[in-house]
């Protein structure tokens, strides 16, 4: 099996990740519930994972990071917990449904949304975002990288614009956390939403949200927090504010192992390996007659993703053929980013997406190039 669906979830993880999940299931109690050894072991794991994530994202106070089940939950917390009737928010055509659907809901609640359009290569420039900002703009919300094209946005510049105009900046780092260096201070990010099971190499079902010290969110979930038992209101302190209910300790333990692995090895080497595989694949397929590759391949910095179509061939059928005849696993069809597909003209056809991991090899890429060439004949 050749796995090139890492933008959906990373399948190959360090062995320590699986071991950590197993160990947590075997030995850990409930974090913050009880003071016995098993509960404390869980508490230590949760706390140490917060510290690791704080180190990774350059967060000075780890209590500003809360655990969620995935980036979708984090984005829902950010969008529904921040925006109110009469607010205006700027977002882009690159966004995933995890941003779009909560925003469409908020439109029903009286929030105004502006969608910044991309060009034919799927690019968005910071000045386009700036030009959409108006007096009632409460927030700018954008992805760090498109999950369809792999194009990366200039987050630092957008963050600078937001700081200058005193607007909350929310970033969806689903495709970039653990791949690109993210510094919330330097990039002016107020809320960072991330998932644990892609670039961070953790298991599925664990994600998180960073919320800046000057931001207050209304939680949509309240309940047990392991604190303030006799208070009627859910506690307002982070991270308890956003962590009602028992945490996913096995997931957090796995994430701890994944993030530790990344911090020990550094992000750059992995990313460069992934980008080298991506370029090798891109260069190997770009001349195939009838191929259409989406995104901006003019610069060096891009997420390790190549999405394409062969002529008018249904992308789902092409993806299925790659899996059935070549044992190459990719993703076809629509990629939960409807506005992106509309802008690229792939609403009907979708696109076949190859997404790379540092665990992939050059041989796997070469086998894939051959497969796509044969299918293109």
């Amino acid at each position: 099996m050749i796995y090139f669906d890492n933008a959906a979830t990373s399948l190959h993880k360090p062995e320590a990740v699986a071991e950590a999940v197993y160990n947590a299931i075997r030995n850990m109690g409930n974090c913050g519930r009880g003071a016995h050894g098993a509960a404390l072991e869980a508490g230590r794991m949760v706390y140490n994972t917060r510290l690791k994530l704080a180190e990774l994202f350059h967060v000075s106070d780890c209590s500003r990071i809360a655990f969620t089940s995935n980036a979708t939950e984090s984005l829902n917390i950010a969008i529904k917990g921040l925006l109110k009737e009469g607010d205006h928010v700027v977002t882009t055509e690159l966004e995933h449904n995890s941003v779009l659907r909560p925003l469409y809901e908020m439109q029903q609640e009286g929030v105004e949304v502006s969608f910044v359009k991309c060009d034919s290569m799927g690019r968005i420039f910071p000045n386009q975002i700036e030009s959409q900002i108006q007096p009632g703009t409460r927030a700018v919300l954008c992805t760090h990288s498109s999950n369809v094209t792999g194009n990366v946005l200039d987050i630092k510049e957008i963050g600078r614009i937001c700081k200058q105009k005193n607007i909350t900046f929310i970033v969806d780092a689903s495709q970039t956390a653990g791949v690109f260096s993210i510094d919330v201070e330097q990039m002016g990010i107020d809320i960072l939403c991330f998932t644990g099971h892609k670039g961070l190499l953790g298991p599925q079902g664990i994600g998180g949200i960073y919320v800046g010290a000057n931001i207050s969110l209304q939680p949509f979930k309240t309940g047990g927090s392991g604190s303030q038992t006799f208070q009627k209101n859910h506690p307002a302190n982070m991270p308890d504010l956003l962590e009602a209910g028992t945490l996913n300790v096995p997931g957090i333990a796995g994430l701890h192992a994944g993030v530790s692995y990344l911090l020990e090895n550094g992000l750059d080497t992995h990313r460069e390996t992934e980008q080298a595989l991506m370029w090798h694949f891109y260069n190997g397929i770009k001349e195939i007659p009838g191929i259409k590759i989406y995104g901006d391949f003019t610069g060096k910095e891009r997420a390790p993703i190549v999405s394409f179509n062969l002529g008018a061939y249904d992308s789902a059928a092409l993806c299925d053929q790659l899996a059935e005849d070549y044992d190459i696993f990719t993703r076809g069809g629509g990629h939960c980013a409807p506005l992106m597909h509309q802008a690229l003209g792939t609403k009907e056809q979708g696109a076949v997406r190859f997404s790379f991991s540092f665990y992939n090899t050059k041989e796997e890429v070469e086998a894939s190039i051959q497969a796509v060439r044969q299918l293109g004949e």
């Binding site: 003071a35 209590s63 392991g226 506690p235």
Partner: protein, 78 residues
């Protein structure tokens, strides 16, 4: 029943702060341990840091010097 002793008990608002205290004390080689909050006192978080009563001054100094988030410090017989 355990024989009662005078202890210093530090309370916290969140589990995160309590875990942070434990990690800090372990790294600094300070004695003490996390216990369930005794019923004589009320606290935000169910975990409290406990040490011998003589440690009160030292702990208060450390908490303030390193700006560790805590709720209260008590000396009680538990």
């Amino acid at each position: 029943m355990r024989k009662k002793e005078w202890k210093v008990v530090v309370t916290f608002e969140t589990t995160t702060s309590a875990m942070g205290m434990e990690k800090f004390c372990k790294e600094k080689g300070l004695p003490g341990r996390l216990i369930p909050v005794p019923r004589q006192i009320t606290a935000g978080c169910g975990l409290a840091w406990c040490d011998k009563s003589e440690a009160r001054e030292m702990l208060e100094k450390v908490l303030n010097e390193y700006e560790l988030p805590y709720q209260n410090i008590y000396v009680i017989e538990i």
